[in-house]
Symmetry: C2
Subunit: 337 residues, 2 copies
């Protein structure tokens, strides 16, 4: 049985989205059970509306909620009885195998790090998420947890990303690309150049330097970069996708003829939309911790939040932290040359 | 009369594209003249094919060509009679007002910097290009010339970008955004935080921190970032656009019905395509030099290469280097607080 702690109060929509999503997820997974953490009366009322089997659901009351714009340090100090904190505490105490939250990213990161601690050999946690590609998907990290990274930390991200990609794609040795501004070894800043040297000697399946367009080409199974670059790449992609959507809508609503074209094309547009649907890729993993925590997008709807729960469930089933630990140990042994 | 030096041998297609593009451009601008630099026999043959008025065209023979994959240092030392070098030399000697090349970016940058030198107060050249937005376009820099930037250099990029945006959009005080991973002042790495302080005190129209999605929202007229981040954002966008194109093609060719939908939607799709057409935005300015040099994409076709020539022409007409110099001087005066 995989026991999942869900922070029901996080995100833009709170329990109104998280509870029905959790119930729907549970209906699909007979080997999962849930601890729904938050304001008990609110959760109970949402559970009544959602219906379904409650035998595998427990509600844990929390008296506080971390606000979406609350400074992480303040939340860490002051919100010890928040739904977010209690969900993480459940992972720490072993009463849950993983936690999911759509709340404040900074606060979640700070609490997870404080409560769960880092795995041996990992200096900093990283945020990893799957991204769609021309041929499937790739796993990218770090997406914003670390704005200044050393080469050693980029190497650790590569190890953690490889472990997660191995689980997600059931691949023995996922390929790792280092995000750079050219494929040649001489390109890039000093940190990236040093990281490439470390990766080459790491025993990982290191593909080499890749460029921004390689992310969506799907050139490698894992894309490694520092959190500043990763966050900019992610947000830039979101912005471009939104601009395309706006342009398409404008062009398809320009005249009666284009409206007819839109009508005829609706199945095609819907098929296209579902392929690039960011909800399918919701669920960013906080890697490097002694426990599993998955961050959902704050604006997640029910479908989207279920994807995040599914990510946590999969990681718990494969015991990801243990796998990362073993990979980290293997890294520290001298590599035969 | 604006005199434009065109490196006809650069790019993936060489004179076959650059010469017809130059001739077509000239036909639209009665106040422009061209020096076409490269293998004279090749250029003459392309000119014969292209036809048109040759009274404002001069051909300058060059015995060498810089290869697209040639190391910049080697090109700088060894290719002093290349079409690229001679085009830049013409700007230096005052025989041309600007130069355009679709050749090797690194070599162009190295030669331009060596021959033309930097403007006073500018430490490093930056690559700037217009990007489409939901509402028009924005000017982004640096796109890859500098992988390690200081806060002072980011400030200089902002000054140069403001000057170019002022010309492009005839705006008195273009707004400047600093690319970061959050809007709050506390976000980002140390260099970006320091740059924000400098920008706030600069007298420029500083909007503040922006995030990746603000690029395509068109939140500011100018987007400032270091060359590593800018290059990743640009290439990531190219990759995402290509993935969308592949997906759309796949969905529209799936069955006889979707092919019919594609046929009906053709005018809409073409209108959409022309709005996001990267050819309209071709032409990256090498800013900070004592002279105007514009880099075209290597794979540019005729339409695309004309956009790059147009960019150089506009910058020459407005005497951009002089404008940047004046802005740099204004910056060095103490700002009243």
């Amino acid at each position: 049985m995989i026991r999942i702690a869900v922070d029901c109060m996080g995100g833009d929509h709170g329990a109104h989205v998280t509870v029905p999503a959790a119930v729907a997820f549970l209906a699909r997974k007979p080997d999962a059970s849930l601890v729904l953490v938050g304001t008990a009366s609110v959760i109970d009322s949402e559970l009544d509306k959602a219906g379904g089997d409650r035998s595998r659901i427990r509600v844990l009351h929390a008296t506080e909620i971390v606000a979406m714009d609350e400074p992480p340090a303040a939340a860490l100090r002051g919100k010890r009885d928040s739904s977010m904190r209690l969900a993480i505490d459940l992972v720490k105490s072993g009463d849950a195998d993983c936690a999911v939250s759509a709340g404040n990213t900074g606060a979640l990161m700070a609490m997870a790090r404080f409560v769960l601690k880092m795995l041996p050999g990992v200096e900093r946690p990283a945020i990893a998420s799957a991204m769609p590609t021309q041929t499937g998907h790739t796993l990218m990290l770090d997406l914003g947890a670390n704005v200044n990274c050393t080469a050693q930390q980029l190497l650790q991200f590569a190890v953690m990303g490889s472990a997660l990609a191995a689980i997600m794609d059931t691949k023995e040795r996922p390929s790792v690309g280092l995000l750079n501004i050219g494929e040649e070894d001489i390109k890039g800043n000093d940190v990236v150049k040093e990281a490439a040297d470390l990766l080459r000697a790491s025993g990982l399946n290191f593909h080499g330097n890749i460029e921004g367009d390689d992310i969506y080409k799907g050139t490698t199974d894992v894309v490694v970069c520092d959190g500043f670059v990763g966050n900019v790449a992610l947000k830039t992609s979101e912005g471009l996708a939104r601009m395309f959507a706006v342009y398409l809508r404008e062009e398809f609503t320009r005249s009666w003829f284009t409206r007819f074209a839109a009508f005829v094309s609706l199945p095609v547009i819907n098929a296209f939309k579902s392929r690039v649907d960011p909800r399918r890729y919701n669920g960013a993993s906080l890697l490097g911790l002694r426990g599993i925590v998955v961050k959902s997008h704050g604006s997640a709807d029910s479908v989207s939040f279920q994807s995040a729960i599914e990510r946590a469930y999969q990681e718990a089933k494969s015991d990801l932290p243990n796998l990362i630990s073993r990979h980290m140990e293997a890294l520290q042994e001298p590599v035969p040359t």
